[in-house]
Protein backbone atom coordinates (compact mmCIF):
# COMPACT_ATOMS: atom_id res chain seq x y z
CA UNK A 1 0.00 0.00 0.00
CA UNK A 2 1.35 3.42 -0.87
CA UNK A 3 0.17 6.38 1.10
CA UNK A 4 -0.52 9.71 -0.48
CA UNK A 5 2.51 12.02 0.17
CA UNK A 6 0.32 14.49 2.03
CA UNK A 7 -0.95 11.83 4.42
CA UNK A 8 2.58 10.54 4.97
CA UNK A 9 3.72 14.06 5.68
CA UNK A 10 0.98 14.57 8.22
CA UNK A 11 1.69 11.22 9.90
CA UNK A 12 5.38 12.04 10.27
CA UNK A 13 4.59 15.47 11.58
CA UNK A 14 2.55 13.85 14.36
CA UNK A 15 5.25 11.22 14.90
CA UNK A 16 8.00 13.79 15.55
CA UNK A 17 5.79 15.93 17.77
CA UNK A 18 4.92 12.90 19.90
CA UNK A 19 8.60 12.05 20.34
CA UNK A 20 9.52 15.56 21.41
CA UNK A 21 6.62 15.43 23.85
CA UNK A 22 7.86 12.11 25.30
CA UNK A 23 11.30 13.58 25.98
CA UNK A 24 9.86 16.64 27.69
CA UNK A 25 7.60 14.38 29.76
CA UNK A 26 10.59 12.31 30.93
CA UNK A 27 12.35 15.45 32.16
CA UNK A 28 9.22 16.79 33.82
CA UNK A 29 8.58 13.42 35.46
CA UNK A 30 12.08 13.37 36.97
CA UNK A 31 11.76 16.92 38.28
CA UNK A 32 8.21 16.33 39.49
CA UNK A 33 9.04 13.13 41.39
CA UNK A 34 12.02 14.72 43.09
CA UNK A 35 10.06 17.83 43.98
CA UNK A 36 7.07 15.96 45.36
CA UNK A 37 9.14 13.60 47.53
CA UNK A 38 11.95 15.99 48.36
CA UNK A 39 10.07 19.15 49.21
CA UNK A 40 8.45 17.76 52.40
CA UNK A 41 11.96 16.92 53.71
CA UNK A 42 13.06 20.50 53.43
CA UNK A 43 13.23 22.50 56.64
CA UNK A 44 15.60 25.02 58.20
CA UNK A 45 16.89 22.21 60.43
CA UNK A 46 17.63 19.99 57.40
CA UNK A 47 19.59 22.76 55.74
CA UNK A 48 21.41 24.04 58.81
CA UNK A 49 22.16 20.99 60.97
CA UNK A 50 24.97 18.48 60.86
CA UNK A 51 24.08 14.90 59.97
CA UNK A 52 23.67 12.33 62.74
CA UNK A 53 23.96 8.57 62.47
CA UNK A 54 25.61 8.54 59.00
CA UNK A 55 22.93 10.86 57.64
CA UNK A 56 19.88 8.93 58.85
CA UNK A 57 19.01 11.91 61.02
CA UNK A 58 19.94 15.56 61.04
CA UNK A 59 20.77 17.76 58.09
CA UNK A 60 23.15 18.41 55.25
CA UNK A 61 24.84 21.64 56.34
CA UNK A 62 28.48 20.43 56.06
CA UNK A 63 27.80 19.13 52.55
CA UNK A 64 26.33 22.44 51.40
CA UNK A 65 29.44 24.17 52.71
CA UNK A 66 31.65 21.47 51.17
CA UNK A 67 30.00 21.94 47.78
CA UNK A 68 30.44 25.70 47.99
CA UNK A 69 34.09 25.43 48.97
CA UNK A 70 34.86 22.94 46.23
CA UNK A 71 33.10 24.90 43.49
CA UNK A 72 34.45 28.27 44.59
CA UNK A 73 38.06 27.17 44.94
CA UNK A 74 38.22 25.05 41.78
CA UNK A 75 36.73 27.87 39.71
CA UNK A 76 39.04 30.39 41.34
CA UNK A 77 41.87 28.40 39.77
CA UNK A 78 40.14 27.35 36.55
CA UNK A 79 38.83 30.78 35.50
CA UNK A 80 42.19 32.57 35.09
CA UNK A 81 43.72 29.49 33.48
CA UNK A 82 40.79 28.96 31.12
CA UNK A 83 40.16 32.56 30.15
CA UNK A 84 43.92 33.10 29.82
CA UNK A 85 44.16 30.16 27.45
CA UNK A 86 41.24 31.48 25.41
CA UNK A 87 42.87 34.92 25.22
CA UNK A 88 46.15 33.40 24.10
CA UNK A 89 44.44 31.30 21.42
CA UNK A 90 42.42 34.19 20.01
CA UNK A 91 44.35 37.41 20.65
CA UNK A 92 47.99 36.38 20.58
CA UNK A 93 48.15 33.70 17.95
CA UNK A 94 46.91 33.31 14.43
CA UNK A 95 45.35 29.94 13.67
CA UNK A 96 48.23 27.60 13.04
CA UNK A 97 49.95 24.48 14.17
CA UNK A 98 50.38 25.72 17.76
CA UNK A 99 46.72 26.68 18.27
CA UNK A 100 45.62 23.44 16.62
CA UNK A 101 47.84 21.50 19.00
CA UNK A 102 46.54 23.27 22.11
CA UNK A 103 42.99 22.94 20.88
CA UNK A 104 43.55 19.23 20.37
CA UNK A 105 44.70 18.99 23.99
CA UNK A 106 41.61 20.83 25.20
CA UNK A 107 39.27 18.64 23.13
CA UNK A 108 40.97 15.51 24.44
CA UNK A 109 40.59 16.69 28.03
CA UNK A 110 36.91 17.31 27.39
CA UNK A 111 36.46 13.74 26.16
CA UNK A 112 37.96 12.01 29.20
CA UNK A 113 35.22 10.48 31.38
CA UNK A 114 35.03 11.66 34.97
CA UNK A 115 35.99 8.30 36.49
CA UNK A 116 39.39 8.61 34.78
CA UNK A 117 39.78 12.07 36.31
CA UNK A 118 39.06 10.36 39.61
CA UNK A 119 41.65 7.68 38.89
CA UNK A 120 44.24 10.31 37.97
CA UNK A 121 43.46 12.58 40.91
CA UNK A 122 43.69 9.62 43.24
CA UNK A 123 47.11 8.43 42.07
CA UNK A 124 48.63 11.86 41.42
CA UNK A 125 47.27 14.29 44.01
CA UNK A 126 46.19 11.91 46.77
CA UNK A 127 49.05 9.40 46.65
CA UNK A 128 52.05 10.79 44.75
CA UNK A 129 51.78 14.35 46.03
CA UNK A 130 50.71 12.98 49.44
CA UNK A 131 47.70 15.26 49.79
CA UNK A 132 45.54 12.43 51.10
CA UNK A 133 41.80 12.45 50.54
CA UNK A 134 41.36 16.18 50.86
CA UNK A 135 39.55 19.27 49.70
CA UNK A 136 42.78 20.31 47.94
CA UNK A 137 42.94 17.12 45.84
CA UNK A 138 39.26 17.48 44.95
CA UNK A 139 39.68 21.12 43.98
CA UNK A 140 42.64 20.43 41.70
CA UNK A 141 40.92 17.48 40.01
CA UNK A 142 37.72 19.44 39.36
CA UNK A 143 39.77 22.41 38.15
CA UNK A 144 41.25 20.28 35.36
CA UNK A 145 37.87 18.76 34.61
CA UNK A 146 36.02 22.05 34.04
CA UNK A 147 38.91 23.74 32.21
CA UNK A 148 37.84 22.63 28.68
CA UNK A 149 34.32 24.02 29.14
CA UNK A 150 35.63 27.39 30.26
CA UNK A 151 38.22 27.57 27.46
CA UNK A 152 35.74 26.68 24.72
CA UNK A 153 32.96 29.04 25.80
CA UNK A 154 35.42 31.91 26.46
CA UNK A 155 36.99 31.39 23.06
CA UNK A 156 33.62 31.60 21.34
CA UNK A 157 32.74 34.72 23.33
CA UNK A 158 36.04 36.46 22.58
CA UNK A 159 35.86 35.58 18.89
CA UNK A 160 32.41 37.18 18.70
CA UNK A 161 33.75 40.60 19.80
CA UNK A 162 33.89 42.77 16.66
CA UNK A 163 37.39 43.51 15.30
CA UNK A 164 36.72 47.22 14.96
CA UNK A 165 36.54 47.63 18.72
CA UNK A 166 40.09 46.34 19.05
CA UNK A 167 41.30 48.61 16.24
CA UNK A 168 39.72 51.66 17.83
CA UNK A 169 41.32 50.82 21.14
CA UNK A 170 44.73 50.38 19.53
CA UNK A 171 44.35 53.61 17.58
CA UNK A 172 43.73 55.47 20.83
CA UNK A 173 47.13 54.30 21.98
CA UNK A 174 46.10 51.41 24.18
CA UNK A 175 48.49 48.49 24.40
CA UNK A 176 47.43 44.95 23.65
CA UNK A 177 46.99 44.16 27.33
CA UNK A 178 44.96 47.33 27.93
CA UNK A 179 42.76 46.45 24.96
CA UNK A 180 42.16 42.94 26.26
CA UNK A 181 41.30 44.04 29.78
CA UNK A 182 39.48 47.26 28.87
CA UNK A 183 37.61 46.27 25.73
CA UNK A 184 37.64 42.61 24.75
CA UNK A 185 36.97 40.88 28.07
CA UNK A 186 34.16 43.21 29.23
CA UNK A 187 32.47 42.79 25.85
CA UNK A 188 32.86 39.00 26.06
CA UNK A 189 31.89 38.73 29.73
CA UNK A 190 28.31 37.39 29.36
CA UNK A 191 29.59 34.57 27.18
CA UNK A 192 32.44 33.82 29.55
CA UNK A 193 30.03 33.86 32.48
CA UNK A 194 27.82 31.33 30.69
CA UNK A 195 30.77 28.95 30.51
CA UNK A 196 31.52 29.53 34.17
CA UNK A 197 27.93 28.78 35.18
CA UNK A 198 27.96 25.58 33.13
CA UNK A 199 31.17 24.57 34.91
CA UNK A 200 29.57 25.30 38.27
CA UNK A 201 26.73 22.97 37.30
CA UNK A 202 29.16 20.26 36.31
CA UNK A 203 31.21 20.57 39.51
CA UNK A 204 28.10 20.54 41.71
CA UNK A 205 26.80 17.36 40.09
CA UNK A 206 30.11 15.49 39.98
CA UNK A 207 30.56 12.30 41.97
CA UNK A 208 32.91 9.81 40.32
CA UNK A 209 35.90 12.14 40.29
CA UNK A 210 35.34 13.31 43.87
CA UNK A 211 34.87 10.11 45.85
CA UNK A 212 38.50 9.14 45.29
CA UNK A 213 40.01 12.61 45.65
CA UNK A 214 37.99 14.55 48.20
CA UNK A 215 36.78 11.47 50.01
CA UNK A 216 33.53 11.33 51.92
CA UNK A 217 34.12 12.48 55.48
CA UNK A 218 30.95 13.54 57.26
CA UNK A 219 32.62 16.47 58.96
CA UNK A 220 32.78 20.05 57.83
CA UNK A 221 36.10 20.66 56.05
CA UNK A 222 37.93 23.47 57.84
CA UNK A 223 41.19 23.40 55.92
CA UNK A 224 42.43 22.39 52.48
CA UNK A 225 43.85 19.19 53.94
CA UNK A 226 40.48 18.01 55.31
CA UNK A 227 38.32 15.48 53.56
CA UNK A 228 34.69 16.39 53.01
CA UNK A 229 31.56 15.56 51.01
CA UNK A 230 29.67 17.48 48.41
CA UNK A 231 25.89 17.21 48.16
CA UNK A 232 26.16 14.90 45.15
CA UNK A 233 28.52 12.51 46.94
CA UNK A 234 26.32 12.52 50.03
CA UNK A 235 23.26 11.81 47.90
CA UNK A 236 25.06 8.95 46.17
CA UNK A 237 26.08 7.36 49.47
CA UNK A 238 22.61 7.76 51.01
CA UNK A 239 20.97 6.17 47.99
CA UNK A 240 23.50 3.44 47.25
CA UNK A 241 23.87 2.22 50.80
CA UNK A 242 20.15 2.58 51.43
CA UNK A 243 20.79 4.72 54.50
CA UNK A 244 17.68 6.84 54.25
CA UNK A 245 15.39 7.30 51.25
CA UNK A 246 13.70 10.36 52.79
CA UNK A 247 17.00 12.15 53.34
CA UNK A 248 18.16 11.06 49.88
CA UNK A 249 15.12 12.71 48.30
CA UNK A 250 15.66 15.83 50.37
CA UNK A 251 19.30 16.05 49.29
CA UNK A 252 18.37 15.33 45.67
CA UNK A 253 15.87 18.17 45.79
CA UNK A 254 18.46 20.68 47.00
CA UNK A 255 21.01 19.36 44.47
CA UNK A 256 18.76 19.33 41.41
CA UNK A 257 17.17 22.68 42.06
CA UNK A 258 20.50 24.33 42.74
CA UNK A 259 21.70 23.05 39.35
CA UNK A 260 18.46 24.15 37.72
CA UNK A 261 18.95 27.64 39.07
CA UNK A 262 22.55 27.78 37.90
CA UNK A 263 21.55 26.62 34.41
CA UNK A 264 18.70 29.10 34.14
CA UNK A 265 21.15 31.83 35.08
CA UNK A 266 23.57 30.57 32.43
CA UNK A 267 20.81 30.57 29.85
CA UNK A 268 19.75 34.08 30.80
CA UNK A 269 23.33 35.34 30.45
CA UNK A 270 23.71 33.66 27.07
CA UNK A 271 20.49 35.27 25.93
CA UNK A 272 21.75 38.66 27.03
CA UNK A 273 25.04 38.11 25.25
CA UNK A 274 23.27 37.24 22.02
CA UNK A 275 21.00 40.27 22.27
CA UNK A 276 23.96 42.52 22.78
CA UNK A 277 25.67 41.18 19.68
CA UNK A 278 22.71 41.39 17.32
Amino acid sequence: MRLDPRTTDRLFSIFFRVHALIVVCVLLAILFLIAIKGLPQLSPAFLLQSPKDMGREGGIFPFIVGTFLLVFLSLLLAIPLGVGTAVFLTEYRREGRLTAFIRFGVESLAGIPSILYGLFGFIFFVIRLKMGLSLMAGVLTIMIMVLPTIIRTSEEAIKAVPRQLRLVSHSLGATKWETIVGVVLPKASPGILTGIMLSVGRAVGETAALIFTMGCSLRLPTSLADSGRTLAVHFYILAREGISMEKAYGTAFVLVFAILLVNLLAYYLMHKAMERLS
Partner: protein, 283 residues
Protein backbone atom coordinates in the same frame (compact mmCIF):
# COMPACT_ATOMS: atom_id res chain seq x y z
CA UNK B 1 57.00 46.01 22.62
CA UNK B 2 57.29 47.03 26.23
CA UNK B 3 58.90 44.64 28.67
CA UNK B 4 55.69 44.35 30.62
CA UNK B 5 53.74 43.28 27.55
CA UNK B 6 56.22 40.51 26.91
CA UNK B 7 55.78 39.21 30.43
CA UNK B 8 52.02 39.23 29.98
CA UNK B 9 52.25 37.34 26.72
CA UNK B 10 54.43 34.72 28.36
CA UNK B 11 51.94 34.32 31.21
CA UNK B 12 49.14 33.66 28.73
CA UNK B 13 51.34 31.24 26.83
CA UNK B 14 52.04 29.37 30.06
CA UNK B 15 48.31 29.21 30.82
CA UNK B 16 47.60 27.86 27.35
CA UNK B 17 50.19 25.15 27.73
CA UNK B 18 48.77 24.07 31.09
CA UNK B 19 45.97 22.16 29.36
CA UNK B 20 48.52 20.16 27.42
CA UNK B 21 50.45 19.56 30.62
CA UNK B 22 47.35 18.28 32.42
CA UNK B 23 46.51 15.99 29.52
CA UNK B 24 50.03 14.66 29.54
CA UNK B 25 49.96 14.08 33.31
CA UNK B 26 46.65 12.23 33.12
CA UNK B 27 47.77 9.96 30.29
CA UNK B 28 51.18 9.43 31.84
CA UNK B 29 49.99 8.47 35.31
CA UNK B 30 47.20 6.18 34.16
CA UNK B 31 49.55 4.43 31.72
CA UNK B 32 52.41 4.40 34.24
CA UNK B 33 50.28 2.68 36.87
CA UNK B 34 48.43 0.41 34.49
CA UNK B 35 50.92 -0.73 31.89
CA UNK B 36 53.46 -2.70 34.00
CA UNK B 37 50.76 -5.22 34.84
CA UNK B 38 49.59 -5.19 31.23
CA UNK B 39 53.16 -5.93 30.22
CA UNK B 40 53.58 -8.67 32.81
CA UNK B 41 50.33 -10.51 32.21
CA UNK B 42 49.99 -9.62 28.55
CA UNK B 43 47.26 -7.70 26.74
CA UNK B 44 45.91 -10.95 25.38
CA UNK B 45 45.19 -12.58 28.73
CA UNK B 46 43.74 -9.35 30.14
CA UNK B 47 41.41 -8.95 27.19
CA UNK B 48 40.54 -12.60 26.63
CA UNK B 49 40.38 -14.10 30.09
CA UNK B 50 36.99 -14.20 31.73
CA UNK B 51 37.96 -14.50 35.38
CA UNK B 52 38.45 -11.36 37.46
CA UNK B 53 40.05 -12.21 40.81
CA UNK B 54 42.75 -9.57 41.07
CA UNK B 55 43.88 -10.66 44.53
CA UNK B 56 44.44 -14.21 43.22
CA UNK B 57 46.30 -13.26 40.07
CA UNK B 58 43.44 -13.37 37.54
CA UNK B 59 42.99 -10.11 35.70
CA UNK B 60 40.54 -10.96 32.94
CA UNK B 61 38.37 -7.99 32.08
CA UNK B 62 36.71 -9.48 29.02
CA UNK B 63 33.25 -9.60 30.68
CA UNK B 64 33.51 -5.90 31.53
CA UNK B 65 34.64 -4.91 28.05
CA UNK B 66 31.75 -6.87 26.55
CA UNK B 67 29.32 -5.42 29.12
CA UNK B 68 30.49 -1.87 28.45
CA UNK B 69 29.88 -2.32 24.74
CA UNK B 70 26.51 -4.00 25.35
CA UNK B 71 25.15 -1.16 27.51
CA UNK B 72 26.55 1.41 25.08
CA UNK B 73 24.82 -0.33 22.20
CA UNK B 74 21.63 -0.64 24.23
CA UNK B 75 21.75 3.05 25.13
CA UNK B 76 22.24 3.93 21.47
CA UNK B 77 19.22 1.80 20.47
CA UNK B 78 17.04 3.97 22.70
CA UNK B 79 18.87 7.31 22.62
CA UNK B 80 19.72 7.53 18.92
CA UNK B 81 16.24 7.35 17.38
CA UNK B 82 14.59 9.31 20.19
CA UNK B 83 17.32 11.97 20.13
CA UNK B 84 17.27 12.24 16.35
CA UNK B 85 13.47 12.51 16.18
CA UNK B 86 13.62 15.20 18.82
CA UNK B 87 16.25 17.08 16.82
CA UNK B 88 14.17 16.79 13.63
CA UNK B 89 11.18 18.24 15.46
CA UNK B 90 13.27 21.07 16.93
CA UNK B 91 14.97 21.96 13.68
CA UNK B 92 12.26 21.36 11.08
CA UNK B 93 8.86 21.61 12.77
CA UNK B 94 9.07 23.72 15.90
CA UNK B 95 8.21 27.40 15.73
CA UNK B 96 10.69 29.94 17.06
CA UNK B 97 8.94 30.25 20.40
CA UNK B 98 8.61 26.49 20.92
CA UNK B 99 12.30 26.11 20.14
CA UNK B 100 13.18 28.84 22.63
CA UNK B 101 11.52 26.80 25.38
CA UNK B 102 12.42 23.29 24.27
CA UNK B 103 16.12 23.78 23.67
CA UNK B 104 17.01 24.97 27.19
CA UNK B 105 14.74 22.23 28.55
CA UNK B 106 16.85 19.65 26.77
CA UNK B 107 20.02 21.29 28.01
CA UNK B 108 18.61 20.97 31.50
CA UNK B 109 18.20 17.24 30.92
CA UNK B 110 21.94 17.16 30.25
CA UNK B 111 22.71 19.12 33.42
CA UNK B 112 20.95 16.75 35.84
CA UNK B 113 23.73 14.90 37.70
CA UNK B 114 24.26 11.29 36.74
CA UNK B 115 23.64 10.10 40.31
CA UNK B 116 20.11 11.44 40.05
CA UNK B 117 19.49 9.37 36.91
CA UNK B 118 20.90 6.35 38.68
CA UNK B 119 18.67 6.98 41.69
CA UNK B 120 15.54 7.34 39.56
CA UNK B 121 16.56 4.12 37.81
CA UNK B 122 16.88 2.26 41.10
CA UNK B 123 13.69 3.60 42.62
CA UNK B 124 11.37 3.40 39.60
CA UNK B 125 12.82 1.35 36.72
CA UNK B 126 14.40 -1.54 38.62
CA UNK B 127 11.17 -2.55 40.45
CA UNK B 128 9.15 -2.28 37.22
CA UNK B 129 11.58 -4.51 35.32
CA UNK B 130 11.75 -7.00 38.20
CA UNK B 131 7.97 -7.11 38.55
CA UNK B 132 6.91 -7.36 34.92
CA UNK B 133 9.85 -8.90 33.08
CA UNK B 134 11.53 -10.98 35.76
CA UNK B 135 15.14 -11.26 36.85
CA UNK B 136 16.73 -9.18 39.60
CA UNK B 137 15.77 -5.87 37.97
CA UNK B 138 19.37 -4.72 38.01
CA UNK B 139 20.11 -5.59 34.41
CA UNK B 140 21.40 -4.84 30.96
CA UNK B 141 17.94 -3.58 30.03
CA UNK B 142 17.62 -1.18 32.97
CA UNK B 143 21.14 0.17 32.48
CA UNK B 144 20.55 0.68 28.75
CA UNK B 145 17.32 2.56 29.45
CA UNK B 146 18.94 4.88 31.99
CA UNK B 147 21.96 5.52 29.75
CA UNK B 148 19.73 5.97 26.70
CA UNK B 149 17.92 8.82 28.44
CA UNK B 150 21.23 10.29 29.63
CA UNK B 151 22.75 10.48 26.13
CA UNK B 152 19.59 11.88 24.58
CA UNK B 153 20.57 15.56 25.02
CA UNK B 154 24.03 15.01 23.49
CA UNK B 155 22.58 13.34 20.41
CA UNK B 156 19.75 15.84 20.06
CA UNK B 157 21.89 18.95 20.33
CA UNK B 158 24.58 17.76 17.91
CA UNK B 159 22.04 16.46 15.37
CA UNK B 160 20.13 19.72 15.73
CA UNK B 161 23.25 21.77 14.99
CA UNK B 162 24.03 19.56 11.99
CA UNK B 163 20.54 20.07 10.56
CA UNK B 164 20.61 23.80 11.22
CA UNK B 165 23.82 24.09 9.23
CA UNK B 166 22.13 22.68 6.12
CA UNK B 167 21.70 25.79 3.96
CA UNK B 168 18.14 27.12 3.68
CA UNK B 169 18.14 27.22 -0.15
CA UNK B 170 18.49 23.39 -0.16
CA UNK B 171 15.10 23.11 1.52
CA UNK B 172 13.55 25.94 -0.46
CA UNK B 173 14.61 24.26 -3.70
CA UNK B 174 12.95 21.08 -2.56
CA UNK B 175 9.72 22.85 -1.59
CA UNK B 176 9.73 24.70 -4.91
CA UNK B 177 9.74 21.34 -6.68
CA UNK B 178 6.54 20.50 -4.82
CA UNK B 179 8.02 18.18 -2.19
CA UNK B 180 6.25 17.87 1.15
CA UNK B 181 8.01 18.68 4.40
CA UNK B 182 8.68 15.01 5.17
CA UNK B 183 10.04 14.38 1.66
CA UNK B 184 12.37 17.35 2.11
CA UNK B 185 13.59 16.06 5.49
CA UNK B 186 14.10 12.51 4.21
CA UNK B 187 15.67 13.35 0.85
CA UNK B 188 17.48 16.64 1.52
CA UNK B 189 18.02 17.62 5.14
CA UNK B 190 18.95 14.27 6.68
CA UNK B 191 21.38 13.23 3.91
CA UNK B 192 23.07 16.64 4.02
CA UNK B 193 23.38 16.53 7.80
CA UNK B 194 24.42 12.87 7.87
CA UNK B 195 28.01 13.25 9.03
CA UNK B 196 27.05 15.59 11.88
CA UNK B 197 24.34 13.20 13.02
CA UNK B 198 26.73 10.23 12.95
CA UNK B 199 29.27 12.26 14.96
CA UNK B 200 26.51 12.97 17.49
CA UNK B 201 25.79 9.23 17.80
CA UNK B 202 29.46 8.45 18.36
CA UNK B 203 29.88 11.17 20.98
CA UNK B 204 26.73 9.88 22.67
CA UNK B 205 28.32 6.42 22.74
CA UNK B 206 31.44 7.96 24.26
CA UNK B 207 29.33 9.47 26.99
CA UNK B 208 27.54 6.18 27.64
CA UNK B 209 30.69 4.08 27.87
CA UNK B 210 32.32 6.61 30.22
CA UNK B 211 29.36 6.95 32.55
CA UNK B 212 29.99 5.55 36.00
CA UNK B 213 27.77 6.37 38.95
CA UNK B 214 24.40 5.86 37.29
CA UNK B 215 25.65 2.55 35.91
CA UNK B 216 26.90 1.24 39.25
CA UNK B 217 23.50 1.95 40.77
CA UNK B 218 21.39 0.05 38.23
CA UNK B 219 23.68 -2.56 36.64
CA UNK B 220 23.90 -5.05 39.50
CA UNK B 221 27.68 -5.32 38.99
CA UNK B 222 27.86 -9.11 38.50
CA UNK B 223 31.17 -10.43 37.22
CA UNK B 224 30.06 -12.45 34.21
CA UNK B 225 29.04 -11.69 30.65
CA UNK B 226 25.26 -11.17 30.71
CA UNK B 227 23.42 -13.90 28.79
CA UNK B 228 20.22 -11.98 28.39
CA UNK B 229 18.62 -8.57 28.62
CA UNK B 230 17.54 -9.18 32.20
CA UNK B 231 20.91 -10.28 33.58
CA UNK B 232 23.11 -8.05 35.74
CA UNK B 233 26.52 -6.91 34.50
CA UNK B 234 29.56 -4.84 35.41
CA UNK B 235 31.14 -2.23 33.14
CA UNK B 236 34.77 -1.07 32.94
CA UNK B 237 33.91 2.21 34.66
CA UNK B 238 31.93 0.41 37.36
CA UNK B 239 34.84 -1.93 38.01
CA UNK B 240 37.15 0.99 38.76
CA UNK B 241 34.69 2.86 40.95
CA UNK B 242 33.63 -0.19 42.95
CA UNK B 243 37.08 -1.42 43.90
CA UNK B 244 39.48 1.52 43.89
CA UNK B 245 38.69 2.52 47.46
CA UNK B 246 40.16 -0.64 48.99
CA UNK B 247 42.49 -1.97 46.28
CA UNK B 248 46.24 -2.25 46.89
CA UNK B 249 49.27 -3.61 45.04
CA UNK B 250 48.55 -5.59 41.90
CA UNK B 251 44.83 -5.24 42.44
CA UNK B 252 45.15 -1.48 42.17
CA UNK B 253 47.37 -1.79 39.10
CA UNK B 254 44.69 -3.99 37.55
CA UNK B 255 42.17 -1.18 38.05
CA UNK B 256 44.51 1.22 36.27
CA UNK B 257 44.83 -1.35 33.49
CA UNK B 258 41.03 -1.22 33.28
CA UNK B 259 41.43 2.55 33.00
CA UNK B 260 43.95 2.19 30.18
CA UNK B 261 41.54 -0.01 28.20
CA UNK B 262 38.71 2.46 28.83
CA UNK B 263 40.93 5.33 27.71
CA UNK B 264 41.82 3.48 24.49
CA UNK B 265 38.16 2.84 23.68
CA UNK B 266 37.23 6.49 24.32
CA UNK B 267 40.14 7.69 22.18
CA UNK B 268 39.01 5.48 19.31
CA UNK B 269 35.44 6.82 19.61
CA UNK B 270 36.62 10.44 19.63
CA UNK B 271 38.94 10.04 16.68
CA UNK B 272 36.22 8.33 14.65
CA UNK B 273 33.84 11.21 15.48
CA UNK B 274 36.51 13.74 14.50
CA UNK B 275 37.22 11.88 11.29
CA UNK B 276 33.54 11.83 10.32
CA UNK B 277 33.21 15.57 10.93
CA UNK B 278 36.46 16.44 9.11
CA UNK B 279 35.48 14.40 6.09
CA UNK B 280 32.45 16.59 5.66
CA UNK B 281 34.52 19.76 5.67
CA UNK B 282 36.86 18.35 3.03
CA UNK B 283 33.94 17.32 0.89
Amino acid sequence: MKREEIHIEWTFRLFAFSSLLFLFLILFFILFEGSPLLYKVGLRSVLLEQRWAPTKGSFGILPMVVSSFLVTFGALCLGAPLGLFCAIFLSEYASRSVRMVLKPTLELLAAIPSVVYGFMGVVYLVPIVREYLGGPGFSLLTTSLVLGIMILPTITSISFDAMQSVPGPFREGSYAMGATRWQTIWRITLPSARSGIVAGFILGMGRAIGETMAVIMVAGNALSIPKGLLEPLRTLTGNIALELAYATGEHRSALFTTGVILLLIIMIFNSVANFVVKKRIVR
